[in-house]
């Protein structure tokens, strides 16, 4: 019954608003921007564009010409804040039958997710600073999520979350860090999303969820990262290290890669140098992990060096005009081996990594050999040219002497 009555009431209200909504003409002339701005923003609001109006959320009497009647408590006028705001939004957004009038595929589980989120739990516990729907989506001038100007459009999500989580003043008294936005902006994910505008790159909600936002627990970190980095996650799950990490309560991925400030992974993370992450556990030189880390780093350095060397030789040959597109193409195969070896590290299987590195080296060495051959072919061609030019020169000199001889025999002019 509710499913039928509610849309009917809302549509009737919308019709009434179109016929004679007194909220907008009254509010837009008010001097106080807190009271005039909401109606000015309504022009772009998705709810207004779909036929809803001020009364849909604020109730009261939108057709009344007097403020007292319009804001009449008897007619249910309210300014929903905090829990009331969530209820106001959920009134429609949790109603699948109603939402189907606008979008047959619309989700209606946002309220349920929110109630289970940290934000929702804090709100339920009486924390009036906890985020509600309007904290992220706005209240007046709400835009569709796909609108690039929306605060929840992927490119804008970090700034939206950062309004609270990047503000030391707002978060005062809470035991969570406020440097997460700054860290994220400098991370490989932040640079991809905010620097390159790659909307496929993860924002805050990709790992924490959006309506059900909550920090992933230690046990679920690998699952969160694994939604994108599935190969690495699978390899780690089947590795012998998985049990060690679990026993010691170590959050899998973040232990080596960190979380908000994830830097682009480098080969220097292996080995025994300053940037090594292996040394967090394997500090003793006799430790098998220490030895393996040093061996892997040497292996990666060797393949990278051979790739650079082969590329240098082939590009030199190419600049000299030699046709080396084939070995240059084959170098990409060696680069694939390098990438695969870097992924295989997550299996902690030294044999597989070494095997992959060796395969890459074999391709790189063969390609370099082709480059060397091309360079020696250049020398051969040049030598051939000089010999030819010498022969052509001799012929030219011979012809020149012949011309002189022939001209001498001509009768005088």
């Amino acid at each position: 019954m509710r499913a039928i009555l509610l849309p009917a009431i809302l549509l009737l209200l919308a019709g009434a608003a179109r016929a004679g909504d007194s909220c907008v003409p009254c509010h837009e002339g008010l001097q106080d921007p807190r009271l005039s701005a909401p109606v000015k923003a309504s022009a772009s609001d998705i709810h207004f564009r779909r036929g809803l109006n001020c009364s849909s959320c604020h109730a009261g009497d939108g057709t009344a010409s007097r403020k007292e009647d319009a804001h009449s408590a008897a007619k249910g006028f309210r300014v929903p804040r905090g829990a009331a705001a969530v209820e106001s939004c959920a009134k429609c957004h949790s109603d699948a039958a109603f939402m189907k009038n606008f979008d047959p595929a619309a989700r209606t589980d946002q309220e349920a997710q929110y109630r289970g989120s940290h934000h929702g739990q804090k709100l339920a516990a009486g924390d009036d600073k906890a985020a509600t729907c309007v904290s992220c989506h706005g209240n007046h001038g709400v835009l569709p999520v796909k609108d690039p100007s929306s605060p929840v459009y992927p490119l804008n999500v970090p700034a939206t979350c950062g309004r609270c989580h990047g503000s030391a003043e707002y978060m005062k008294g809470r035991k969570i860090p406020v440097d997460v936005l700054a860290k994220y902006e400098g991370s490989v994910h932040g640079k991809a999303l905010l620097g390159r505008g790659d909307v496929g790159a993860p924002a805050c909600n990709s790992c924490h969820g959006n309506h059900g936002a909550t920090p992933p627990e230690i046990a679920s970190v690998a699952n969160v990262c694994g939604t994108c980095h599935s190969e690495q996650a699978d390899l780690f799950r089947t590795s012998k290290k998985k049990a060690n990490f679990d026993e010691n309560g170590i959050a899998e991925c973040v232990f080596c890669h960190s979380h908000h400030d994830i830097a682009p992974p480098t080969d220097a993370m292996l080995g025994t140098g300053e940037k090594s992450v292996c040394l967090q556990c394997h500090q003793d030189e006799d430790d098998a992990g220490f030895v393996a880390a040093r061996k892997w780093e040497a292996g990666f350095r060797s393949l990278v060096g051979k790739l650079e060397d082969a590329t240098h030789v082939l590009e030199k040959a190419e600049r000299a005009g030699m046709e080396v597109s084939d070995p240059l193409f084959r170098l990409s195969e060696a680069r694939d081996h390098l990438t695969q070896a870097r992924v295989l590290i997550h299996a902690y299987d030294a044999g597989k990594v070494v095997e992959k590195l060796a395969a890459g080296e074999a391709v790189a060495v063969a390609a370099r050999g082709d480059g060397e051959m091309a360079l020696s072919e250049i020398d051969y061609r040049r030598r051939g040219l000089y010999v030819s030019l010498f022969a052509i020169g001799l012929l030219a000199v011979g012809i020149w002497f012949k011309i002189r001889d022939l001209d001498r025999k001509l009768p005088p002019a």
């Binding site: 084939d326 052509i392 030219a396 011309i403 022939l406």
Partner: protein
């Protein structure tokens, strides 16, 4: 032995008459006679084109699936394949360059004047055929640059009223540049245009033989006659040998590039340019605004360039003063303007 072979041939062919002709044929010797050699050098380079082109035909496969791979095979696996292809490419460029030198020298020396109007016209037709050979040959390696340059080049005739669409379809063998275009260009490059060229070349040489070499109007004194054989032929041979040395050096130091295989679905690369001898026209069309007095700029440019080309061919019939053996400074000035425009726009197109 040679004498016996000559005697054997003499009994069957009019060798004595040819010998007689050669012994009496002369070439006027004066301060501008150095320009006589450029036509012969172009001919020499054409011979090289025929020889190297025939060798390339042994391995080249004219289809979109195999063209690029076959050229790569020629460049990397075939013994001296790189040299043959590089010489083919460079001798084409040098041939066009020498043809330009030959044409402009003929123009400024007014060698086109009566009675050599047809020699000039046939020479212009030869240059046009060589342009066609260059344009069709450019696509044959089927690499990214040649594919997109051909797509742009074959698009140009579209602006011609009424027949434009038909010409584009005729050139491409369809709506777009595809494997059908490659097959068609191959046929033009190795059969149709060479046959036309040999025919017109025969006419051109016959006209020269019939009329002899032109003496510039400015040369008043009777020039000293130089025996064609062996004196002029020896000089020509020296020029050919020097051209060969230049060709070998260019091929060895700057071998022909192959580039990446054409991908018709990829985006066109930046900085696409045609062969250097089409750059002046390409740059002119590029500089024109979208519309000029309500007419499409490109259409106007194509019309203007075509009209200029037609007038250039008809110069011997328009230049009445030189036909009377008088100096014609107006046409000299027009020639200078044409040369400056051609060189200037080519350099501008190259740099931009």
């Amino acid at each position: 032995m040679i004498a016996r072979i000559a005697a054997w041939l003499g009994e069957r062919l009019p060798l004595a008459a040819l010998r007689e002709l050669a012994s009496h044929k002369t070439v006027p010797q004066h301060r501008a006679s150095v320009w006589y050699y450029f036509g012969g050098m172009s001919l020499f380079l054409f011979f090289i084109q025929v020889v190297t082109g025939s060798l390339l035909l042994l391995y080249y496969r004219p289809s979109a699936d195999h063209a690029w791979e076959s050229v790569q095979f020629i460049m990397t696996k075939v013994s001296f394949g790189w040299l043959i292809r590089s010489i083919h490419k460079w001798s084409a460029d040098l041939m066009i360059l020498f043809l330009f030198l030959h044409m402009f020298s003929t123009f400024f020396l007014k060698a086109y004047r009566k009675p050599r109007e047809l020699t000039w016209v046939s020479g212009c037709v030869l240059l046009g055929i060589c342009f066609g050979l260059g344009f069709s040959g450019y696509l044959l390696p089927w690499n990214t640059l040649s594919f997109f340059a051909t797509a742009i080049g074959t698009e140009t005739p579209k602006v011609i009223p009424v027949a434009g669409e038909f010409i584009v379809k005729f050139l491409r063998g369809g709506e777009e540049v595809t494997g059908a275009t490659l097959t068609r260009f191959f046929a033009w490059h190795v059969a149709i245009l060479p046959a036309l060229l040999v025919t017109v070349l025969g006419l051109h040489l016959a006209f020269i033989q019939a009329q002899g070499m032109s003496v510039p109007i400015a040369v008043k004194a009777k020039p000293r006659p130089l025996p064609f054989f062996p004196n002029f032929v020896a000089r020509e041979a020296l020029a050919w040998v020097l051209a060969l040395a230049l060709l070998a050096s260019l091929a060895a130091f700057f071998p022909a590039e192959l580039g990446t295989k054409a991908d018709p679905f990829a985006a066109a690369p930046d900085g696409l340019k045609p062969e250097w001898y089409f750059l002046f026209a390409f740059q002119t069309l590029k500089l024109l605004p979208a519309t000029v007095m309500g007419i499409e700029g490109e259409a106007l440019g194509v019309f203007a360039l075509s009209l200029a080309g037609l007038l250039w061919v008809l110069v011997p019939f328009l230049d009445r003063r030189s036909a009377r053996g008088e100096k014609s400074p107006l046409f000299t000035a027009l020639g200078v303007v044409a040369l400056v425009f051609f060189v200037g726009m080519t350099i501008y197109g190259w740099k931009s």
